[in-house]
Amino acid sequence: MEFVIISVIGVLFGCGTYLILQRHLLRVVVGLSLYSHAANLALMVSGGLKRGNPPLLTTDAPYVDPLPQALVLTAIVISFGMTAFATVLAFRVRQVYGSDAVDELAGGEE
């Protein structure tokens, strides 16, 4: 199971990198959000994937590490906020420049 998730992480990173290297800002934003999904999945796997065990330290039975879940929840909220900001920024760029192609932003120095 971990192998599958790790492969998914790899695919997400590959697609994210491809999108970040595109000209259009909206694609860059989608690429960034794929990056954050990949990172969140990696965090989830970092505690080991187990099913059916309680996330408690006090029981004698084998338990699931609860920490990665707390971490991934925090990371999801953060990446949600960041993606929202990046989307609005891309929208604003489109409004001000009349285009969201990154190379159109060049110039205007000094």
């Binding site: 990172a39 965090l43 920024l89």
Partner: protein
Amino acid sequence: MMPPDLFVLFVIGPVVTAALLAAFHKWDSFQRGVSLAVSLGLWGLSVVGLLSLLQEVSPDGGGIGGGIVVLRMGNWAAPYGIILVADVLSMTMVVLTMTVGVAVVVFSLRTVEQAHQEHFYYPLFFILIMGVNGAFLTGDLFNLFVFFEILLIASFALLALGSQPGQLRETVKYVVINLIASTFFLISLSVLYRTMGTLNMADLAHKIQTTSGELDPTLTILALVFLFVFGTKAAIFPLYFWLPGPYFQPSAGLSAFFGGILTKVGVYAIFRTFTLIFRHNPALTHELLLILAALTMLLGVFGALSQMDMKRILSYHIISQIGYLILGIGLLTPQALAGALFYMVPYVLAKSALFLIAGVVQAATGTTHLKAVGGLQFHSIPLSILFLLAALSLAGLPPLAGFFSKFIVLQAGVEIGRYGYVGIGLLGGLLTLASMLKIWNGVFWGEETGDRRPVSLWPLLPGIVLLVFFIVGIGLFPGILYSVAQTAAAQVADPRVYIAAVLGLKE
């Protein structure tokens, strides 16, 4: 003696203030009054906090003990719960942040446009302060990530405030680069957690010290990924390319805070992780830090020399100065660490003061381009004096504070026979002087050229005077800051002190 619980105020205080200011964002005088009062209050509190830590420090057989306050949120014991750790290093950084914060708020009272103020300038600024203070005080790598994100989102919004075309372009670059760096931060956190089973800094350091060397290759790779992440935030070679643009665009008060403090959060993260956690393979990691430091010093100052705009010269200088800080960390002797910290304080003060002065120049003449202004010394003598004091301190001329900073770092280099790096450091200092004189010649010296706007400059000066006052003070009494820096370095140079304080271990 300050009660330990009060240390949480450096994180909670700004965020409560931000919420309050956001709720009453249409009420002009309330915004200014509360911002000034809270920043002054937190500044005073941070000084008291630092003094109470210093009071507690006691020599403890050969080493040093005490003087580290550990706050356990919800009273969960160290490796499990969220903790804040205030040692002398992090409290010094908090004091520095609040000093610059006060100066920037004082400057902002007079310069922030009405439209910006209505669009949550002050609330965002306090959220930024909360993120910075939190990053300095946290004792946990994941919370370091969280505080990084908090200060990032606040800085994104502040950079984009106003949505001028040039501003938007720089914000886009800054956002994309920082989000990519954050992703790598998160990935390396997950690998680190998988490898070590903890993200608490003290627990990590303890586990790395006690385990045998079989994990070393993984840890070294992780150390380098963390160096990439923090290096991007701190703008070290070769990751500094993003810095000059975004720091050039915003209003002067923000440039001062960004240029003075924000990159230093990255430097602090390198400082903390590479003195506490990743010390297993200094032959690789710390040698790499030295090489990067040398290149950062030189390329930053070359960049500065090639620019023709006051704010751009200052932005490139940030990069060069970060090289000196990294040099101190790379040398990893107590003397060098004390030097790096001693370097940080006057340099941050001088850098923020210079950015604020650039803001005054802009207010007086409408531009900061060296060719478009000249002879400003006839227009405002106090401003010229303030500039000279800050600039010469940055370049390291005695008896100003910057001289002692450079002297201590380079002396530490000489002591362990790293003459090459000392030479590069001296060359960097010389070129810094050259580029500061370039600003002086372009803006203040010579014939009066360029427009003069009919604005009174006096109200803009108090914040700058405050910063320059401390620069001169440190220059006249370097012993005080040096003993603080030595105490901080003694705590940091031996990770066992930190580990024992956080985990409650006894040798």
